[in-house]
Symmetry: C2
Subunit: 122 residues, 2 copies
């Protein structure tokens, strides 16, 4: 199946139910969206792309070269990140520059990174 299911799922699972037991009153819908959100961070290619963007805007080809990935792989993943509003595009001539769309993205990345490094004992 193609990558559009990232969006498709979001619609299919949407509903109004709420979790009966919840210390913080988080709706089932919100919990679903939260898991969908974390999915974007749950892939090596996307995490590496996000990591690159922590240093700022970067073009598609530059990502592909620096990460040693095929251009289409990068484009496909950027499409997923763009659709989810995690990154935003800017055109400059025939190049496209992408950057992180939300200040939270870097925060979440670093929170997870802190955990990993802590586990490793560094």
């Amino acid at each position: 199946m193609n990558n559009c299911s990232y969006i498709k799922n979001k619609e299919l699972h949407r509903h109004d139910e709420r979790t009966e037991v919840s210390a913080h009153e988080v709706s089932l819908d919100t919990l679903f969206e939260l898991s969908e959100f974390f999915k974007f961070f749950g892939d090596t290619t996307r995490i590496r792309i996000i990591h690159l963007m922590l240093s700022g805007e970067i073009s598609v080809n530059d990502i592909a070269e620096k990460l040693n990935l095929e251009q289409s792989v990068v484009s496909h993943q950027l499409r997923i990140l763009r659709t989810a509003n995690l990154v935003k595009p800017r055109r400059d001539g025939r190049k496209m520059f992408y950057s992180l769309d939300d200040e939270h993205i870097g925060l979440i990345f670093n929170t997870g990174l802190t955990h990993i490094l802590h586990k490793k004992g560094k």
Copy 2:
């Protein structure tokens, strides 16, 4: 394929390479582990289980009842979370109680939740 691949992958992808371009000197290995870590949060069932545990220790059957899931679904997911050291088990008679193993888990959950709620404009 069975759920053991969560552990299997971790071994297969381990290596010493480092990303050449990196503002924060994060190794390719660490970036891979980071994406594997976020994967645990990228499933509705696991997120709901983690959410329940924010309120403290809980038994397998209580999870299944409160989330309206089959017992084996909960056990399978708990096995994944336990293997990844995200939750820890405690036996009391014939019941097993599970709780979050690391203070970071709640932090990451809430950081993501803040993002989702912010996006929703609440």
